[in-house]
């Protein structure tokens, strides 16, 4: 497994843990006689009304059509589901810890099976409640009518509109499953994952962003950026905009970064604070009378602009290749 996949599994495990606190599913019943609405939450270990009296009201309503009472204590799944989830989370932690591909596949399979089984079980309970009506008790009888609530979506039941959607916990489980799926992909075919992520981000040509002076920190040296005359920026192929306080830090960063991760490189024109210029097109002075936060290099809109400024500022005219290649000396040497 890649370390990225291990992190994904780890995060998926934490995300799954939120299902202990957030409800899995939410069912709403809307009808004119209940203007404020009725509804219930299905949690991992119980069924609750949206409002304290809702479950009671729903049971009373169901009584008219002969439906069984919803008694959380009578549903055995609610007792053992928390333990199944705990097992899955522990499994996820173990997979992340071991980093074994086989473990990931076994656990991923178990997770998928559990989720499918859980949905099937939910459907079965819904079917049972909706169809198994007590003809003796029912006051309203519509021949052939069943009252199965939808698994997902909306459905008209007599004069009620029943809507059923995953809630926080259910969404979390779905997200977790998605993450695990990505982790499996990442382990199998990294290129495929890259394509998926790229498409998802939709980040073909991201422009450089403005610096937030006195708030942004240099990606390389961690210094806070406080002089907008000297900033620089890299836009990565995944659309991240990384900012630097000086051309020197930019060069150091590029030296340690694979070229295929870099989409575009930018520097600020010292004469027009806030204006980005492509690093390849810019002109540079080394050891001029203006000193960048790293002390050596000043960038201009073009080599011609740099040459023009050299009369006033002194220093040497250098080009981008030198800035980029001479990073080590320019940062650590000093005149």
């Amino acid at each position: 497994m890649t370390s990225r996949a291990r992190w994904m599994v780890l995060i998926a495990s934490f995300v799954m843990a939120t299902a202990y606190v957030l409800p899995l599913w939410r069912v709403d019943l809307i009808a004119p006689q209940y203007p404020e609405g009725l509804g219930m939450y299905i949690k991992i270990n119980g069924v609750e009304g949206l409002k304290p009296q809702d479950l009671n009201s729903i049971n009373n309503l169901n009584h008219y059509i002969g439906m069984k009472r919803i008694e959380p204590d009578a549903i055995p799944e609610l007792r053992y589901m928390p333990w199944i989830l705990a097992g899955l989370i522990a499994g996820g932690l173990a997979v992340a810890a071991s980093g074994k591909r086989l473990a990931l596949h076994v656990w991923g399979g178990a997770l998928a099976l559990t989720l499918v089984a859980g949905l099937a079980d939910f459907y079965r309970w819904g079917y049972d409640y909706g169809h198994d009506l007590d003809e003796e008790v029912a006051i309203i009888k519509v021949p052939g009518m069943t009252y199965q609530p939808p698994l997902i979506g909306s459905k008209k039941l007599l004069n009620f509109r029943a809507t059923s959607w995953p809630s926080g916990g259910g969404i979390a489980l779905t997200l977790a499953a998605g993450l695990v799926f990505l982790a499996v992909l990442d382990t199998r075919r990294r290129a495929l994952l890259g394509a998926v992520l790229l498409t998802a981000a939709g980040c073909a040509n991201v422009p450089p962003r403005d610096l937030v002076v006195n708030q942004d920190a240099c990606e390389h040296c961690k210094m806070q950026i406080s002089d907008p005359r000297f900033g620089s920026q890299v836009v990565t192929t995944t659309g991240r905009q990384l900012v630097f306080d000086s051309p020197e830090c930019l060069a150091e960063f590029l030296e340690r970064t694979p070229a295929d991760k870099v989409a575009s490189i930018w520097v600020l024109d010292v004469e027009n604070p806030g204006t980005w210029v492509s690093a390849e097109a810019a002109g540079y002075l080394a050891d001029a009378n203006l000193r960048s936060p790293m002390g050596r290099i000043t960038a201009f809109a073009s080599p011609a602009a740099a040459e023009a400024a050299r009369a006033r500022l002194g220093g040497r005219l250098i080009d981008w290749a030198v800035v980029r290649g001479g990073a080590a000396e320019s940062v650590h040497g000093g005149p």
Partner: protein, 408 residues
């Protein structure tokens, strides 16, 4: 010709110390005129008033300029105020006012250029881009000055005391606020900063770049934009300083980056987002410091090697130690941790079970900062509990003999 020059110099040296007075009704109307007339070793007394004149160029050695009743040297937003290009010059009791802003020049109220043994004491600096700028200066003393920058931050702000390629400079007892960096040592060796108070500057209270063998002690760094940064340097001694209230995502009370062989002793780190941040910082002795009420007391990156944490106090921090790696080559021995829940059966003052200061969640946050949203949530509690039972993911970093009582 050379002999004549030498004779003149000897003659000048033999004269009694000369005193020149500048002011309304005094022999000299401007400081520049007095400076032009002064011989080496003269004293110029400047009476109260506001002096508007071109940049005062001092090329006469052993000159003393003393202000009486806070005379104001006004740069009228246009220029540098005093340049010193001679040795043994003393400036005292002056008010340097309003250099204005320059975008293509690091304009300084007082610039010392290739001079030795200057003394800049008891002056006031107001609305200056850079207040004191030492460039290739040697053995100067900058003492008890009161520096209030124009504030505002943005590009229109320079540093309070700036050293560039200077050696043996002492910066003592100054009060600096409203600048970009309060004190900045750049390419300078053997500098000392003592008893300064650097507060509410836009970036760093104190900033080191490429400056070896420097020492700073007993300073207070309070509420600066990004704290204090010591970078790309060797052999730095940091003692008894107070680092407070550096708050923000890019703020570190003290940032140590690419720096080797130093001591960090008996400092206080209080109320900051991150107390101490080490990246590429190696062979440091970190002893007897107090870390109180910070978000992260210490953030130790994987490339910080062979640092020793001994006898420090960790109290009331959200995270005591955070790191981005499972492999760490720094050690913790005999620190006091308020989160330690161990016991001391043999009563030697040391806990009998190790303390692991890196919370699992801290590791998660280090890699995925967004996860910080979940701090204090049940998930986090579950995670930390799970990790205590089954510690496979957190770094094997432990204080084997934690203190049972805070030191001191």
């Amino acid at each position: 010709m050379r002999a004549a020059l030498l004779l003149t110099m000897l003659f000048a040296a033999a004269l009694p110390a000369q005193e020149l007075v500048v002011g309304d009704g005094a022999p000299f109307k401007t400081v520049s005129a007095a400076v032009a007339a002064a011989r080496p070793g003269s004293t110029i007394r400047v009476r109260p008033g506001t002096y508007r004149e071109p940049t005062i160029e001092i090329r006469t050695p052993r000159l003393r300029i003393v202000g009486e009743g806070w005379p104001v040297l006004d740069g009228e937003g246009q220029r540098e105020i005093v340049n010193i290009r001679a040795d043994d010059v003393t400036l005292q009791g002056l008010v340097f006012f309003n250099t204005g802003i320059a975008h293509m020049q690091d304009r300084a109220a007082l610039r010392v250029i290739e001079a030795a043994r200057c003394t800049v004491a008891d002056n006031r600096f107001r609305q200056t881009l850079f207040a004191v700028y030492l460039q290739r200066a040697v053995d100067c003393t900058i003492r008890n000055n009161d520096i209030v920058g124009a504030g505002g931050g943005e590009s229109s702000n320079g540093n309070g005391v700036h050293l560039w390629h200077s050696t043996g400079i002492r910066v003592i007892g100054n009060r600096i606020t409203g600048q970009r960096d309060g004190i900045y040592f750049e390419f300078s060796r053997g500098a000392v900063a003592e008893n300064n108070r650097s507060e509410a500057n836009a970036r760093y209270g104190l900033h080191f770049m490429f400056s070896d063998s420097c020492r700073y002690t007993d300073n207070a760094f309070v509420a600066n934009g990004a704290g204090v940064a010591v970078m790309y340097s060797k052999g730095i001694t940091m003692e008894r300083n107070e680092f407070r209230d550096a708050v923000g995502s890019a703020a570190y009370a003290l940032l140590l980056k690419e720096i080797t062989d130093g001591v960090l002793v008996e400092n206080k780190f209080i109320g900051s987002s991150t107390g101490l941040y080490l990246e590429g910082a190696s062979r440091f002795e970190i002893r007897g410091n107090e870390f109180r009420a910070n978000g992260w007391a210490v953030r130790l990156m994987a490339d910080a090697l062979d640092n020793r944490f001994v006898g420090n106090t960790f109290e009331g921090n959200a995270f005591d130690v955070a790191t981005n790696s499972r492999t760490l080559r720094s050690t913790f021995d005999g620190n006091w941790w308020d989160a330690y829940r161990g016991y001391d059966l043999d009563r030697d003052g040391r806990g009998d079970v190790p303390f692991r200061p890196v919370r699992f969640f801290a590791l998660v946050v280090e890699r995925h900062p967004e996860a910080l949203l979940m701090l204090r949530s049940p998930v986090t509690t579950v995670l930390d509990a799970a990790e205590r039972v089954f510690p496979v993911l957190t770094p094997p970093l432990a204080d084997e003999r934690p203190l049972m009582r805070p030191p001191r």
